[in-house]
């Protein structure tokens, strides 16, 4: 959102200053509607972004199949990577947050983390350059799945009555305050959790993409279409783009981690007896 408005401002600044090459197009949200490649108008309409998602799913599966096909007692090569990949989620998220409750959710959380990372990282991969998660569909789906899982597990662990009471009527609050607390708790737990999960991931991926398009678009514009000394602006613009590419690697990883971590936290708090 911020990136978008910056882009709009920059565009207006550029046109005011009289550089009227007309070749610079600030990125807009149309970046995220690439249009259909296949099956247009059906439920299975396949955009370029969907195709990238399927490709990344295939690569991810290929990686894990190769990593675990030998399953040697002493791991070598790709098996090391595969075990590190599974171990990372196990140690950093599942053991850390869920402890003894962890094994039940290991498949779900590990799959989610690695698919999210695969879908986030496409934002900086050559030829792809767009995150699958910068379109709301997938973040929304995973957030709904998280919502269903943590509510289902909360009810399973505590029973529906106790689960709702734990969440809506937290212990240790004077009775009249529930007038205030209960609606807040209801909104924050049952409505805002999936919304924030979705929007945090989506907005990060969108803004990252817009920043990269902005800087590399500007680099190309200044280098090719502007005249004289203005061509030099392409240099800082390129380095900004490069820096943000590195930054996007971090963000891709971080957002996958946060999404998975928060899901684990929600499951943990839902399945706790009191909180």
């Amino acid at each position: 959102m911020v990136a978008n408005s910056i882009a709009v401002q920059l565009q207006s600044v550029l046109s005011v200053s009289g550089d009227e090459g007309g070749g610079f197009h600030a990125p807009t949200i149309s970046e995220f509607f690439p249009g259909p490649l296949l099956f247009e108008g059906t439920l299975f309409e396949l955009s370029r972004i969907n195709a990238i998602g399927l490709l990344m799913t295939g690569l991810l599966c290929l990686f894990f199949v190769l990593a675990f096909s030998k399953n040697n007692f002493v791991p070598r090569g790709i098996q090391n990577l595969g075990e590190m990949a599974v171990d990372f989620v196990q140690v950093q998220i599942i053991d850390e947050i869920l402890g003894h409750k962890g094994p039940r959710y290991a498949v779900y959380l590990t799959s989610m983390f690695w698919l999210l990372l695969a879908f986030n990282i496409t934002g900086i991969l050559p030829l792809m350059h767009i995150s699958v998660t910068s379109v709301i569909g997938f973040p929304f789906l995973l957030a709904i799945v998280s919502w269903v899982v943590f509510n289902f597990e909360g009810v399973r662990a505590n029973g529906p009555g106790a689960y709702l009471k734990n969440n809506l009527f937290p212990a240790g609050v004077p009775a009249p305050i529930y007038v205030l607390v209960t609606p807040i708790e209801f909104i924050s737990t049952f409505i805002l959790r999936p919304v924030t999960l979705t929007v945090r991931l989506l907005a990060n991926m969108m803004s990252g993409h817009l920043l990269l398009v902005l800087f590399f678009g500007a680099t190309q514009y200044f280098l090719i279409e502007s005249a004289g000394i203005m061509k030099a602006v392409a240099i800082p613009s390129f380095f900004m783009g490069f820096a943000f590419t590195l930054f996007e690697i971090l963000v891709a990883f971080l957002q996958a981690y946060i999404f998975t971590l928060l899901t684990a936290v929600y499951i943990d708090s839902a399945t706790s007896a009191e909180h």
């Binding site: 149309s30 599966c61 894990f64 599974v86 799959s111 997938f138 929007v199």
Partner: protein, 182 residues
């Protein structure tokens, strides 16, 4: 947020909002998620558990084996020590017994020697005694015979004749010496 939605829909009128999930995005994303979930639940996680369990088992088994061989070694050492101790004890007992036996043998030998010596001494002294007694008896008898002889000779010759008497005495003594030399 509603402002953003408005902004987003205004900035490109022909596009839907970025906050409106398209059904096909959900379908393709869901398909990917299901594929990955199935892969992890049917393949990756079981394989990971398998190899981890195998490693745990091997490491624990190895540790148990090491502990066992350590225990065996200590037991063996204790056995050796015990055997060595008992051998030493036995040796010293044997030495002490041998010492005692040696002393006993020496004592016995000394006693036997003393007894034998005493017996020899006693025998010798009794032999001497009987010799002495026999000699004395013999001497007494010879002296008696000699005295009788002398007396008869003196009576037979003239006792006044000094020369004769002296000759008789000399003969007597010579006879005596002769009989003693016998």
């Amino acid at each position: 947020m509603s402002q953003w939605i408005k902004f987003a829909s205004e900035s490109s009128a022909e596009q839907p909002s970025v906050l409106l999930p398209a059904i096909y995005d959900i379908i393709w994303g869901g398909l990917s998620f299901i594929i990955v979930l199935v892969l992890f639940s049917k393949f990756v996680m079981p394989r990971m558990r398998e190899v981890t369990a195998e490693r745990t088992e091997k490491i624990e088994g190895g540790l148990a084996r090491a502990e066992k061989s350590q225990a065996d070694a200590s037991e063996l050492l204790a056995q050796y020590r015990e055997a060595l101790d008992s051998a030493n004890k036995e040796a010293s007992e044997i030495r002490a017994a041998a010492q005692a036996e040696r002393i006993a043998i020496i004592d016995e030998a000394k006693k036997a020697a003393a007894t034998a010596a005493a017996a020899v001494t006693a025998q010798a002294s009794s032999a001497l005694e009987s010799d002495r007694a026999r000699i004395a008896t013999e001497l007494r008898r010879d002296l008696g015979v000699a005295a009788t002889d002398l007396a008869s000779r003196i009576v037979g010759e003239s006792l006044t004749d000094d020369a004769r008497a002296n000759a008789v005495i000399e003969r007597f003594v010579a006879d005596l010496e002769k009989s003693a030399g016998r």
